[in-house]
């Protein structure tokens, strides 16, 4: 049964997307949405669906997928179930890079003066820089997973401060833009963003899946992994790059949507056990469901006002995280 978990998750994601496409200032019933997908809907509905709503929903799903997969990788290589790209400052590094770009190159009218496709690249570079810094600072005759997480928290706070600094130095109209983006909002997405993010994921996700077996072995510990013939250091580096790339791409477009990288892998492990070949697709789909769901709540709850999706993912994520911490009382952390 475990092998097929992803099928019902995929159907939940699909249904959620269909509902979410229908909801908005003009309500379109789910059946009409499906008809439009099949090319049978009327042209007005199709215009709304394909030009206005679909890109946004797709971006939400893609961002959720990449954040959840990034979380999977990080938890496996740090061997710490509480490590996430956000809390270790990796998302923060991407944010610093992206905010700098927004501040430097944005025009009065909410648009960027350089090509949008540079944004994920810079975010990726920012995330990678922070990840490498964390690794070096935590390195002391090997990297203990405990020190890694603490150093990560230090960088998390530092990156937050840098983002605030950049936002404060820039002019005010950009500050509002940047703040909205930072909380994690996918308001006003067009096909442009989707087209930029999609190739990254098409390349990255199969590679991660291919590495899935290695992830399972990494989680068993360094010595076991070496014993099983894995080049641990090289592997870890590649996996870390994959993680920063996925984080960077997601953060570049949706900003600080938090706790997906934590909850996705955890729930997935509950469903399918410890094999990363199974965990990765399931976690990815859970991530997609969460972000699409958060976005749906965000734009219906106080409609026509938009509440950034990041608020809801944090509202779900933090209690869950605290529950995890609470449950592990008294255990010695590895």
């Amino acid at each position: 049964m475990k092998k097929y978990t992803w099928i019902w998750l995929a159907s939940i994601l699909f249904c959620l997307m269909v509902v979410s496409i229908g909801v908005g200032e003009v309500y379109i019933p789910p059946i009409q949405v499906v008809k439009s997908f099949l090319g049978l809907g009327n042209s007005f509905d199709s215009l709304i669906i394909f030009q206005l709503r679909l890109p946004r929903i797709l971006l939400a799903a893609l961002a959720g997928i990449s954040l959840a997969v990034a979380g999977c990788i990080l938890q496996a290589i740090t061997r710490n179930p509480m490590a996430t790209p956000e809390m270790m400052g990796i998302s923060g590094g991407a944010s610093v890079a992206a905010v700098s770009i927004i501040m430097l190159f944005s025009t009065q009218k909410d648009s960027l003066s350089i090509s949008l496709s540079y944004l994920p690249l810079f975010a990726f570079l920012g995330a990678t820089t922070v990840a490498i810094c964390i690794y070096f600072v935590a390195w002391k005759k090997g990297v203990s997973s405990l020190r890694l997480v603490l150093v990560g928290i230090g960088f998390y706070i530092l990156m937050n401060a840098l983002v605030n600094l950049i936002v404060l130095i820039g002019p005010l109209f950009r500050a509002i833009q940047a703040k909205t983006w930072l909380t994690g909002s996918i308001y006003g997405t067009t096909w442009k963003e989707v087209i930029v993010i999609l190739p990254w994921l098409i390349v990255l996700l199969p590679i991660v899946y291919f590495y899935g077996r290695n992830l399972t072995i990494h989680e068993l510990g360094e010595n076991t992994a070496i014993g099983l013939g894995i080049k641990v250091k090289r592997d870890r580096f590649i996996l870390l790059l994959l993680c920063t790339a996925l984080t960077g791409v997601a953060v570049a477009f949706v900003g600080g949507i938090t706790f997906i990288g934590l909850i996705g892998p955890h729930l997935a492990r509950r469903f399918v056990g410890n094999n990363y070949r199974l965990i990765i697709p399931v976690a990815a789909l859970i991530g997609g469901v969460m972000v699409v769901g958060a976005d749906l709540i965000g734009h219906t709850l106080l409609s026509p006002r938009e509440i950034p999706a990041g608020v809801f993912t944090a509202l779900v994520g933090v209690p869950y995280f605290l529950y995890l911490v609470y449950r592990s009382r008294g255990q010695v952390s590895s």
């Binding site: 230090g154 960088f155 998390y156 530092l158 401060a161 509002i176 909002s185 509440i307 608020v311």
Partner: protein
Amino acid sequence: MGKIFRFISGLILLLFLMALSLIVGTRDIPVQTVVESFTNYHATVDQIIVLTDRLPRTLIAILVGASLATAGAITQVLFRNPLASETTLGINGGASFFMVIAVTLFSGLALNQLIWISFIGSGLTFMLIFAIGRAQTPLQLTLAGTSIAALFSSLTQGFLVLNEQSLEQMLYWLTGSVEGRKLTDIIPVLPYILVGLVLALFLARSLNLLALGEEVSKSLGLSVTVYKLLAGVSVVLLAGGSVAIAGPILFVGLLVPHLAKIWVGQDHRLVIPFSALLGAILLLCADMLGRAIMIHQVIPVGVMTAVLGAPIFLFLVRRSWGQKI
């Protein structure tokens, strides 16, 4: 004798920095003018700057630095955890979240009403983290606190996005700043902070016992619950009072007690006053640096402490805490 000498030399340094803080800034003001603005007030531009901008921010920096550092020292004992502080436990974040909600919902609240909201926020967060984190390892407690802080900051930002008008005035304040306050703004906060500080000094001896562990303190005849409660009240007064006047300022409460312990050892009768002194000195320095580092632009002190504090935090993690925890 040595310790008293150290304290006095610290005080002299603090006084010197206070004087310096009145002089430097986007516009340097000669010493003579500074002195004249107290003795011979003529309402010239420079004198107005000294009395309405420099003096309040200097006093607030001292007050807030001292209270945050003291609160941090107490928290570290209460949780028996070297990484505990208002920052890492999310108490600052909780207080500022409540403040933002209060300010957006009921506009026109005065500071002496806001301070109670700040107390409620920091008190609730403190109780929440206390319930979760008593038996936790330092790492888990830190993770829990940081995630609570992350939740509050995300909620706060969500709130601000809904309410763009208030963003402009809040943005500065959210990162922690001692700027733009009047001398009269200190008055409603002052009594609470003073009570908190005196309470902390009064508790210092029992903190020494509490640091040995609950069992030991009980067997030595300390009524643990009462003293823990009093210590909690002191933390809430100090942290809540600081957030009410200056917003969330990071890292002071985490780092300063460690510096104080390096300087004077583990006895809390010394650690508390030295933490307060060092906290005041450090925050004053951070604020001056924030004023001096860029021309025409003042960097809020909250950003400065985070930027300066994070490397020290990382250094300490590498050096000593790496083995201890």
